[in-house]
Subunit: 309 residues, 2 copies
Amino acid sequence: MKVTVLSGGIGAARFLHGLANTIEPSSITAVCNVSDDLTWHGLHVSPDLDTVMYTLAGLEGEFGWGVRGDTQTTIETLRGLGSEEWFSIGDRDLATHLYRTGHLRAGSTLTEVTQALMTAHGVEVNVLPVTDEPHPTIVRTAEGDLQFQDYFVRLGAGVNVTGFEFPGRDARPAPGVLRAIGDADLVVIAPSNPFVSITPMLVVQSVRQTLARAPGKRVAISPIVAGAAVKGPAAAMLESLGYEVSATSVARLYQGLIDLFVVDAADEALLPEIRALGIEAVAVDTMMTGDEGRARVARNVLVAAGFEP
Amino acid sequence: MKVTVLSGGIGAARFLHGLANTIEPSSITAVCNVSDDLTWHGLHVSPDLDTVMYTLAGLEGEFGWGVRGDTQTTIETLRGLGSEEWFSIGDRDLATHLYRTGHLRAGSTLTEVTQALMTAHGVEVNVLPVTDEPHPTIVRTAEGDLQFQDYFVRLGAGVNVTGFEFPGRDARPAPGVLRAIGDADLVVIAPSNPFVSITPMLVVQSVRQTLARAPGKRVAISPIVAGAAVKGPAAAMLESLGYEVSATSVARLYQGLIDLFVVDAADEALLPEIRALGIEAVAVDTMMTGDEGRARVARNVLVAAGFEP
């Protein structure tokens, strides 16, 4: 059984962690968003790839990103030099960015560096960046166009979003991405932000078409529970873009791409309206609290999709 | 009284430190070698500029480079990822390279970044990179052409040097460099490696000519004492290039550029042969042990050059 997960950051990482504790990790492929990537003092930082890596390695920080218990010597020294640092990068985390940047500059692809980093961290899930090419998300706001991290971290996602731009939308998929979607028995769209985690992957050349035609079962997990986002700015984005803040709105965004939409048990009342979109729907516990919660959600999704873990 | 010091790394930094404790620091300009600079995992590292900065700030590490008492979290994590790290960069030191790289990428010149870093470290000496342009030293050896740090750190300066190449020899001097040499009352060639610290600066456009015609008193301090280098590979280079390993050989390299050559008291016997080159020569204590030793050497050089500190 082959499972491919379209992954953003924290929500996806936790689902993948639960899944890797439920089925054989090497049967899982994570196709990962890179449109949050940024250049920080010359270093290539890939927040979603790193969150997935640290979480699968059991190293993730308290808030879901970075390395748990990491020290902040370098960033504090930078601040002492007068550098305005709105990004907090720990000393151990920094090694990942140095490693990646050094290998990219030496000619490796992001796919190759990612594989090397995953191996070094003992991660058996096959983690693929959706593309090896630059493919940033530009967030359109009342304050002008912003780089994603500028919007998300510096401004704390505190400005009204009016749209998104993907100047790298013609990026080619990284090796293995289309096959991972097309060959999987089960494709899961993780409970990630539909606008800035999932859509940027869908606009990569052929990804949307491959998913639309994929013969495997295609399931999405709602990142919106009871009218709020479990993590991050998805609810605020839905609202400022004029959508109702509900799981149903997310299901509508995935129409034509999924066979089954999984909402949290708290949203059971939404099942009829989601089914009215022509999408099979089910309500299960999707709260990924602790290692057990993560594995339970993975099992719930597998069972809902018709697979016996 | 204006003093300009042509500076390599450790020897120059110690002399500058002594000088800054002897005369008004803001009357001192250090023109600094950048031909040891390297790109490390995408970061711009300037070893000589940093050694001068940390030493003048009283932060220099036990062995003369890096930050004293620095932690090694990031580099040890990198090693744990399987990265072969022959360069040891501490966590606090790393902030300097991130700061420099970020500002260079944002369009600042190396001169501007250097000034900002010096100010942040409370350094009042005016420290100038000799050029803002790439200007690496290539070391020719029996093992082939090597980048300087490859030769110096990775191979521990343990291969025979047959020559040097400066592919950036047409680099333009950074703003203020020629004026600092031409306007100084005293120009000091620090006790640095003549081949890989001083020569790379002399081959920058107009630097040699400006020094040859400079109206101030021009003094060089021998980095060779009693037939050995105080620090680094100068003696090994002299030998493998077919020179006698002595202060006299260094004086000969600077013929036409200096008025006075300062040797250590241990080399007093060499004074006649140096004077025979047409260079005034004097023997004084040049051992820069401790803060007091550094200041004493600075005073000795000033007095020998005819200045009363």
